[in-house]
Every structure is written in structure tokens, then in C-alpha cells.
Subunit: 470 residues, 2 copies
Amino acid sequence: MNRFLSRRNRLRELLSSEKGIVVFIGNVESAAQYRDNGYKWRQDSNWLYYFGIDEPRFAAVLDLESGAETVYADDFGIDDIIWMGPMPSVASLAAGAGVSSSAPYAGFGDAVRAALAAGRKVHFLPMSRWYNAVLLGGLLGVAPGELFSVGKKGCPLASEPLVRAVVQMRLVKDADEIALLDAAAELGYRMHTVARKGIRLGRVEQEIVGEMEGAVLAAGWGVSFATILTQHGEIFHCHSHEAQVEPGRLLLVDAGAESNAHYASDHTRTYPTTGKFSPRQRDIYQIVYECNELAFDMVRPGVPYRDCHLAAVRHMLDSLGQLGIVKGDVDEMVADGIGGLFMPHGLGHNMGLDVHDMEDLGENLVGYDDDQTRSPQLGLGSLRMARRLVPGNVITDEPGIYFIPALIAQWKAEGVDGGRVRYDKLEEYLDFGGIRLEDDVLVTPDGARRLGSRRLPIAPSDVEAAMAED
Amino acid sequence: MNRFLSRRNRLRELLSSEKGIVVFIGNVESAAQYRDNGYKWRQDSNWLYYFGIDEPRFAAVLDLESGAETVYADDFGIDDIIWMGPMPSVASLAAGAGVSSSAPYAGFGDAVRAALAAGRKVHFLPMSRWYNAVLLGGLLGVAPGELFSVGKKGCPLASEPLVRAVVQMRLVKDADEIALLDAAAELGYRMHTVARKGIRLGRVEQEIVGEMEGAVLAAGWGVSFATILTQHGEIFHCHSHEAQVEPGRLLLVDAGAESNAHYASDHTRTYPTTGKFSPRQRDIYQIVYECNELAFDMVRPGVPYRDCHLAAVRHMLDSLGQLGIVKGDVDEMVADGIGGLFMPHGLGHNMGLDVHDMEDLGENLVGYDDDQTRSPQLGLGSLRMARRLVPGNVITDEPGIYFIPALIAQWKAEGVDGGRVRYDKLEEYLDFGGIRLEDDVLVTPDGARRLGSRRLPIAPSDVEAAMAED
């Protein structure tokens, strides 16, 4: 059966106790400078998942009661053909998605208005882009800004049954998706290899970024998120690439590829700029590496990913204790959130069509089971994926240790560590930067495997050996 | 004096007969998949021109009566610093733009509301992005969709005096801008050279696109528009790159670089995939090349660029007549718009911070003098820049000849050519594709020069020689 039709049928089953209509709104082109000079075209991920039509300005209505499905879009006229070339008819694109009924784009608004006028429920997902929010907000009579997820809580106006059903489906990757994710991981491997080979003292970071992104563009859609390549690894989303590669630093490369089929990869490696770790760098690197391995070894169906996060943090604090940076009972430190000073982010997130899969649907509904509550602590509170794992989940495993001057100063001034942090020792690391090591992991029926056929060098000696060969 | 302050002072002079306030709204990050996974950050061009602050979520109000200027933005908190690193204070960024007063972002809305409540005029430019339109629309009480330029006419609700003043300024590039445009052209040269060297039979077009875009990303912001690299040159904005390079075809490469300073380049070259033009390809290529040269030779202050367009079209029709594809009086064919069948676009457009400079402000106000009216004809009607040239204008010179099967069929069926087209001959070219040749041109006090220090090979023999060496 058509892959998209069977997904919609499954969605309908999951929503069998609901009435009304479900609406899906594909993306339109997004302006970089102005309407006709757009960013690279990217379809909405939910649309791709349920319809697969990779063209702008499509929408669809599924009637939960009658079972009717209609795709709305406009066929090309002569001007469109001159500027953009011939396009298959909307009817044939819809047929490719297993939908037999299609109509002009304006019909979408008519259909939503008719449902509302008849007092029917209109199920929709939280919006991801402003144009879509303006369109739907106009139909529903609500401000566009109210149609997005707010922080981690999701969007109060969106249909929670629909969100839950979509999350349930997209969290578990099917065999087709796993093959596409493996292919994206191969692309990510190539991208990171270009990066590692490009590290030479004196180069401007941007030169390496260009080379690695070019390698992805040559074979895929592009990057799955803005490349992080920085000697300031302690800044999580550092997008400045103006610095020259300097001796004695660590270069953190957190980058992902998006394949032409729009599945993501997301890997992080951290390299000594001169090809050899200093003893101090190696000590910290070794801890992060062990946390990555330890978390991976725990991954199997039934284990809450939150437990993997906590186990990694526990090992990190234990090891930092041996370096004399923290002191005290390790379990108490974990419970009190001391790990947040060194790793103020979560161990990982879901990945699929989005690098943070379904983040727009609301992190708590995506990444938390109903019996889990989100921690208010720094670090654990940022954990995007806490759920009990099931086969087909795809998650990142990305522990890190960072020395963030502003955060250290704040903790010291506020005394929030309860005497566990040895600031005299810690302050020796204020110029260290940060280390993160990230792999993409598939939960299998009996454990886990990393995506892709090859793992980027990660053990400290393997990294040094690879850099010596480059 | 501060460059941005002097530009704002000049703007104020041009608006000296106006009252009220002028608002500028910088961009926010634009979602690719969801809010926190954005497209590459790109600031609004008008904001860059008048303030230069290359950070998201800034706005400003200029009071035309009191002379007061305030920049609105929020300083970073500890969470922002952890995720994005330290940022200079808003006050210091404002000072760098020559503005002494700054306030939190929410103050922008308060300032606009206060002006409206006092019955003052709020001057604003047409919007380019939906978020900005939602923000301003909310303050003004109008639907966001009404705040964009509609087609070529501009936005009826925006301030025409403000648009005219901005256009008057941005149309004439100052010495700093010319240096930045020359640098962007160098980047464009490098990008196109990578493309040409990458042409080999059997390669997938996307591989070449990735290499050339990587070269730009390594040294600049990225592409100034979505790269066109296609063996279907007859499709103007063909963004499909899935085809393999095949023998006997023409590969059209229309691509531009945006520098880190956000100035654009835009060049087109068309290559024989095997490195040698066939006689038929060479005939058509030679005509396009001559049109490009002829138009360039006409460029000087005082000449309406529309005249350059018409001269190029005249030469094209004359030459196509010699090939037996059209017949009849050339001047009559030009007047009747027969050129539109072969070149259904204009000769060129303004270029600067935007590749189609200020297209969002309304093409007619940007590209037409008050005593010029836009033609309804195909081709001439698409001419974006018709004005009498002045020194400091930067324009593209991009004639082309295309054989567009759908358009040829339409003209033949409708008989709109008045018997001038010899369809029997023309239909031999239905598999030809298209050729476009584009340079970036600066109008100088006594003529013109092409931007950048080197011209991409363009004469047919030079192209063949370069490809033989590659």
C-alpha cells in the first residue's frame, strides 16, 4: 500500500474516538530578503511524513467521520512554467500520496470555514512558520502568535489528541525511515571527515565550515542545523566562525547533514587543534568519552532515557571529583543538580525528519511519558528526551563538559552548589572551553546500534591517530 | 562621521517635509523546521543599510520632528549566554550605529502605539518577512498580508515618501559599498570558476552546486540567491539539480555570492557540456554574447536602461532573422514585443545588499522613473530596471535566448506573433534549452565598468579555451 496512505490510515485509527476534520498545511517559500528571494525550500516535516509531496503551497483536509481526504494546491500556469519549469498536475501529485481528491488552494480555507460553520472540531498541529500561522489564524479567528508551541509545553490551542497521535507514530521509525537515517548518517560521516581533515593552525574557522557544508550540499539537502564549529565549545550554539585556529585549543564540531529525502544526522566531535591532546584536555575528554559509551551501553527497550542521562551525569561528577573539581557524595550531587554546572543541557533528543524531532509539537509531549515530570534543574531540565525507550526510537547520545565563565561566576556568587564545587581548582579551567561527543543511536529490539556503517573516531588515541594521518 | 548616522541624517533631509515617526524593524530568526532550528541568520537589508547591527530582534524609531532616535532590543541573560555566548550590550551596539538611546524590545510597540494615539503618522517600509508583518500589523490594526508589496506596485499602506527616499539613497552606491560589491564579485568569480572546472560528463548537477556553494560559504555568507545550474536553461529559475551532465547539452550557471558584509554578486555563464559548442549552439551563443556587449557599451549616465534592453532585443531579433527564425521589419518586431518569445525577462536589475536590490519596496518605485510606465508586453514588462542611469548605479546585464516549448506552443496556437515567427524553423530548436550571459555593472561618471577585478570567460573561444585547460 502507498506509504503515506497507510500512515494516514494509522493516524485515523489512533484518532478513532475523535470527530471533526484534521488539517495539514505544507510550507510556502520563506523569504530571506524578500518574497521572491527565498531561503532554500524546505517542506514541513509533518506534511512530508503524511503526504510526501515536496512542493510549496499545499494543504490537506482529512475528514475523521466520512474518511474523505482532499489535497489543496494550484496547478501551474504559463508564467510558472517559464520561471520554474513544468510541474506534474496537483491531481497526479495527490495520487502519488494516495489521495484521490484534489482542489485549488483557496478551497482549503473554504473547507475549514465550512467545518467551523457546521460546529465541527478542527484538529491542527502547532505551527512552525509564520505564514502558516497567519493563514490558519485568519481562518480560526485567533492571533497567529497563539498557534505556536510555547516553550516546552506545546500549543494550548492545537489538538492534543492529534499531537499525541503524530508523536506516537513519528517517535518509532519504520524500516524505510531507518534506511534513510542510516544514509543521512553516512553523509554526516563524510561531512565530519572533511571537517577533521580541514583543521590546520591559522585557518579561519569559516573555511572549514564552507568545505564541510559544500560536501553535504553536493550530495544532500544541506545542513540539518546551523553548523557549530568553534574553539569556544562552552558556547553551545556558537555560530561565529571568524576566529583563526590557534594552537593548544579544542575545536568542537557539532554538525549534521540533511539528506535529499530530508532525514537528519547530528554528530559532535571535539579535536585538539594541534592533533594531540594536552594532559588536561585528555583528562576531561576521557570523562566525556566514557559518559558517551556508558549511556550507549544502557540503551535498550524499556529503559527511560532519563536514566541514561542521570547515569552519565553521575559518572561525570564522580570523575570530576577524582580531578578535585567537586567534592562530596556523588548521588547527592546528582540529586542536587550539580551536574548542571558542567553540562547544562540534556543527554540527547529524538531525531528523524527534524534534527530535534517534532520539537515544534511541544517538547514535553514528544520527549516525556505521562508519568514523568520535567525537572526544574539546570541540565536535567533541558533534557528533551526522557521517555522509556522502545524499538525504533532514534536518539542522540551527546554528553559534554563545559567551563562557562559566566555560569561559574554566577554559581560562585550565589553559592548554589552547597559547597560541592572547589572553585579554586575549577577556576584553573576558565580558559578551557568545552567538549561534547555525540552519536546517533537507534533503539533495536534487543539493545541499540549507532546509525551509519562507520563511527567517527572518538577514543582519544583514535582521534590523535586519525589527525596524524589526515 | 558614523556611516549609519550620516545615512539617517540624509534620510531625514529627504523627508524634511514629512511629520511623524519612521520605524525600522530588523529581522528575527526564520524557522526552517521550527523556531529553534532556523535558516541561516540574515538581517533585513534596510536595517543593515541604516543601522548595520547584524543581530536578530532589533527595531528602531526615528522621530522626524524631535530628531530623537531610539534602538529597541533586549540584552542577553544567563541562558542566552550559555546557549549563544556573550553579546555586547544593546547600548554599545546602538552606539556603534551612532544611536545614543536604547530601550528593551517591548518599548518599540509602546513607542508606535503612543505615536498612533497622538495621531502622528507612522512611516514604514513594505515588509519582507511574515514575523515583521505580524508585529507591525498588530500595532497598526491591519492584516499582516496587507503590509507586503503586491506584485510590482509596492505596498499601498507603506509610506511612499519613505520608500522614495530609501530608493533614492540605496540606488546610488557610495565608495564603501562599491568596494564591498567588488569584493562580492571576486567571490562570485571564484564560485563560477569552481563550477566551470566541475563540469564533467556523467556528474550529477548537484555535485557541482555543492562544490561552488561550499567555496562561497568558506569565505562569505553564502549564496545571494538559490543557485541555478541546469541543462534546462529555458527554465529561468530551475532549482532541480538531479540530472547527470550529458553530452551535447548547454549547462547554464546563474549564481551569486553574498559576502560576509552582505553585498551580492550575480553572474551567469552558459557552457557546452563537452567543452566545445556545436555550430548551432555557437550561433545562438554568439548572439547573446553580442547583446551583452552591446548593452554594456551603451551604459553611461543619462541613458535609460530601458534603451539598453530594447537595443539588445533589437540586435537579438535582427540576428535571429539572419538565422531564419523570425522575419519582418526589426523595429516593428521590437515594438510589437516579438523579443518576448525568446527573452521573456528584462535585461537586468539593480543589485546591492539584495541581489534584486530593494525588490520588496516595489519594483516600479525602485526601477522606473516617474515619467516611465511599465510595458504590459512579455519580456519588456518584466524589466526590473528601466531608469535613466546615474553614477553609482549597480545593475546586471543579462540578455538571454531561450526556446521554451510551452511558450512556443502557446504563441503558435494563439497566433500572437503576427506572422513574424517561422515556426517550422523554430521548432528545430525545441530541444535546445537556453543561454543567458550576465555581468554586474557599475555606472561610472563617464561610462561603466564591470565589478570585480576579473571577468569570467565569456567570448565563445575564451570559454572553450578555459574549459580545455580546466
